[in-house]
Symmetry: C2
Subunit: 627 residues, 2 copies
């Protein structure tokens, strides 16, 4: 290895690894204008295989970045799960059908699409904001300047720029042998290791993934099948009487993913993937699904894996180095959680990092990354362990003891909201308030710590029925959601006017205090107002200006039309009943909900306590001019 | 003009003009694999101004070509129309609000988007199938080889290839002066003139646009306004007491289109656009909408036009040359019909031309282009005349006589289905059967001659709620829609088996007779089956094979999953009640509906008469081997 020279450079954030976790972080940082680099040692993107399940909450996040409709267009939406079990004669038959996404869980639907396409969407989104993946760049040396903690760039990663492989070369195997063209020392304020289960970053920190293997291994095939299984285009959970289990996940372009139970390892035995063959996996699948036939003229990808759950409890180092995605947790793929949790890790981290780097928020908020994500991931591993056990066990048939299919289906259905990702709730911290009975009285169904759920509301200016949460775009802004109540009641209208006046002008108001001078009044905290009275009751221009602020474009002040809504059925898109859904009294005094840039609810408050409560909350986490 | 040489070439279809009509025809012909050229004398696409309204039926056609979601993403959907009229004090106030698209008219919504973007979608769709616009090519000479009618390419158009203008040159003005680089004589089987209101093609045929001018002129502005008109983001139809009328159409990117009534011309007086100024149009708008204010810091485009309705009743010449779009009809823009009718002209023509060129259908079917479109366009002009009159008249205020705003709004609402384009009905012809009471008894709400309307149905294979008409893609195939009835009734199931067996094997069946040997059985006529019984009642693989045929891909026979549906509510996407909507008895004997490649309904028939009726219909229009 002959290297002429090592150059030195500086960056705010260095992301190591351009899989889903790294790319999601890249989206956030690019979108918020943070100086970022994202390096990946592989020189090509994956194009098939790997993860494919995308859960509702993840699609909500895609929507907040503006590309949910690209996903919807290409993905195969899963509508139904059918359970195939042996009947009393031992013949496999469909025994139950359930919806794959429960109604009202999300405005989006669980779908499957190749990980490579998901990465494309993230890469395109980053590129729109000027960030590109640097491929064939491998991290080689790590140094943390302990003495220099006050320094702005304490983390130093030396990387090797590799000569890309020839197009026809088998890349993964050849990686270690590739020629180095030059070395570079990157000094970073922050480093995030999104570098997978064998994370280089984790090793530098001396952290370990801990957990067990279940000693059970499975095969996975992406094929275009010819079969007489009647339900090959819905999700099929199939337990044969004697030959093991199978999961069918229909994919885009009539491809189907088969998860095939292969066998059990002896204690201490390691799975040797090189001993497995595609033919053996297909043969196992045939045996399990008999008497239904299976031919696979086209196989796009296949693999074998061992079931296990592993977690690294330390995910940050001095609030300067973080781990996300598989570097932090691994588990089995069948619940379709892996890629989702990976992206949600860095979605949690991105806006916090951005705010600290911009100097607006105190870096102590970064502690909440570990507290919020380790708890969420621990729950995932518990669920995965239960599911894997029930998946791989022999079913109880007639008199024979075994895994109860009732129990299995009950777990599957009970966890539906949680596996959709919409059930994740972050506990109280400096970024999430404590709940209380008083807050429940204001908005009974808004869960503090959960993401703000969506209902169709009527946009005042253009009479369009829109999803309320579509306003919560990932641009780093906080939102104040004002349930304004009934505008036909003059007292209530005056209370709204008072609230807007206080938010605009009281020195304790964070809008007044922390919105940069000369910036638009909605640039730090955006007010979204939902009335319970119909739209006809009051013309748009009669509302207080903060609810429909003017923004500066090319030196002119234009009115905005996207912050004011009414809880009324739209002409064609449904809606109405949002107050009831959120548990807010439409004839009552209303309330105000503070929502983080990642859509999680911070707090619920009355109009009267709003300015003071917001002031206390933001004063505790914002960098103060004087310090 | 020095031209070295005139080359000669042959093509199946020469399209003259690459506006919406020409491009839509290009989509059809490219999609169906017809050898086509499309020439346009202008060297650049338009990027702003011009037409913008896209009606529901047009979006249905976009969907059938696969790009409706591109439109939906960029267009501004219009949700509401509000009427502003003088109150008893003469002050302009909103007096009524109505939905801009009536419920149940279509699965799509009326929206507005710059004509240039619509053209982009059509251009991209053509390009996917290998057809590109040839710009800077002007038609110069026309010759029809009368003697040579039996010849394959009787139409001869000599075109000039022009040297494109410099990028900063004003193109329209300079067009006539551009240098010719070479001449080419194009011999075509068919020529379609889509070359606008001043159509060169029409002139060659000696045909004329006939009709009146109303001697009323209007201005149109695309601007980003600053205004306190409370309803600037919905459609506003505004009649001032004394100063004329105004139409507000909110557009994409917060642009608003204003149609502004300017004045009345004296009889015989011609509108001189060069005498008009932007400032004068804005001043008129301000006067009309007072006391509301208007500032337009950014104006993207503006123009003035005279209201008039003109029609060319001759739209074809010897079934070899056709006119479409503005070459055939012009009218005022305010009902948002122009671009739509233009595209629907060539959408009607394209599949017919393709079938004749491929030698499968008899060229006499081309006569139906004129009969179907002239009738539709005549109705448009009548409507436009009424609307223009009511639009430009002074409103009745208090005691003063004038245009009744009630009458105006009533016309507006009565015509809603028709202006959406979904009310167009083609009369009986060789391509549309006569209606009868017996047919009404089979399917009471399916209008023969109208397009097949859409309902959400449940796709058997994947349990997804989908729009039935999404199956009617524009690929040149005919569809047989089978209302199969209740599959739990063994007699009814046997009738379906019998029908499928007859369609597959009887020598009189057009599927048997006209599907090319070795082609997939769904390649000429595709069977779409809708059961009234729930999906659970019968497994997918139990249905007759014609309802779920196997198709050949790379030498393998794969099952299809997209032709069988059940009329049952889906888990999350609505549906259920389609039989009732179409007027078919869910417990009855069912029926079969033949649908053309452009989605218009040809006929409704019972299972028993199906093969014979289809046989008669197709035998009359298909080219017979022996002739």
């Amino acid at each position: 290895m002959s290297i002429s020279e090592t150059t030195t450079s500086e960056v705010d954030v260095l992301i190591i690894g351009a899989g889903p976790a790294g790319l999601m972080l890249g989206c956030w940082l690019a979108r918020t204008g943070v100086k970022t680099r994202i390096i990946e040692q592989r020189d090509r993107k994956i194009t098939c295989g790997h993860a494919d399940g995308v859960q509702c909450r993840t699609i909500e996040v895609f929507q907040s970045f503006g590309f949910a409709e690209r996903f919807a267009k290409e993905a195969n939406e899963l509508c139904e799960t059918v359970f195939y079990n042996p009947n009393e004669n031992g013949l496999l038959v469909p025994t139950e059908r359930i919806p794959d996404t429960e109604p009202d869980i999300s405005r989006f639907r669980h779908g499957v699409l190749n990980q490579g396409r998901i990465e494309d969407f993230l890469i395109d989104c980053m590129a729109e904001h000027g960030l590109k993946v640097e491929r064939s760049v491998a991290a080689r040396e790590f140094r943390f300047n302990d003495d220099d903690l006050e320094a702005t760039h304490p983390v130093e990663v030396t990387v090797a720029h590799l000569v890309p492989a020839e197009p026809d070369e088998v890349v993964y195997a050849a990686m270690a042998k590739r020629t180095v063209s030059r070395m570079e020392r990157i000094k970073a304020r922050y480093v995030v290791g999104c570098d997978g289960a064998r994370s280089w970053t984790r090793k530098q920190l001396g952290y370990k993934l801990e957990g067990d293997s279940a000693n059970i291994f499975w095969g996975v095939i992406d094929a275009r099948p010819i079969t007489d299984l009647p339900d090959i285009r819905v999700k099929v959970v199939l337990h044969s009487a004697e030959s093991g289990s199978l999961l069918v996940v229909p994919r885009e372009r009539n491809i189907v993913r088969f998860y095939v139970q292969l066998g059990k390892l002896e204690v201490g035995q390691k799975l040797d993937p090189s001993m497995q063959t595609l033919e053996a996996v297909i043969a196992s699948a045939r045996k399990i699904m008999a008497p239904y036939t299976l031919e696979c003229p086209v196989v796009e990808w296949w693999s074998v894996y061992e079931i296990g759950q592993r977690l690294c409890r330390d995910v940050s180092f001095k609030n300067r180095v973080f781990l996300a995605g598989d570097a932090f947790h691994t588990h089995s793929p069948k619940a379709g959680q892996g890629m989702n949790f990976s992206m949600m890790d860095s979605y949690n981290l991105g806006w916090k990092l951005a705010a600290c780097i911009k100097g607006t928020m105190d870096p102590k908020i970064l502690e909440t990354y570990a507290s919020e994500r380790v708890e969420a991931v621990s729950r995932l591993l518990d669920f995965d362990r239960d599911l894997a056990h029930l998946f791989s066990g022999k079913p109880a048939v007639a008199e024979r003891a075994g895994v109860s299919m009732k129990e299995f289906q009950a777990l599957w259905m009970r966890m539906a909201k949680w596996t959709s990702g919409t059930g994740i709730e972050y506990g109280p911290s400096m970024l999430v308030a404590e709940g209380s009975e008083a807050k429940k009285a204001l908005a009974g169904n808004i869960l503090i710590g959960s993401h703000f759920e969506s209902r169709v509301v009527l946009r005042y200016a253009d009479a369009k029925g829109v999803h309320f949460a579509d306003s919560l775009v990932s641009d780093g802004r906080w939102r104040l959601i004002c349930f304004a109540g009934d505008m036909r009641d003059p007292t209530q209208f005056q209370r709204l006017e008072r609230l807007c006046a206080d938010l605009t002008s009281l020195p304790t108001s964070p809008i007044k205090r922390y919105t940069p001078p000369n910036a638009d009044i909605n640039s730090f905290i955006q007010l979204l107002t939902l009335t319970s009275s119909p739209r006809k009751a009051l013309l748009y221009t009669s509302f207080p200006e903060l609810t429909r602020p003017f923004v500066s474009v090319d030196g002119h002040h234009y009115p905005t039309y996207d912050q004011l809504f009414s809880d009324e059925p739209s002409y064609l898109d449904g809606g109405g009943g949002a107050y009831a859904w959120y548990g807010v009294d439409p004839s009552g005094p209303g309330c105000v909900v503070l929502v983080r840039p990642d859509q999680h609810v911070v707090d619920v408050m009355s109009f009267e306590e709003c300015v003071q409560t917001l002031g206390r909350f933001f004063d505790a986490i914002m960098v103060q001019e004087s310090t």
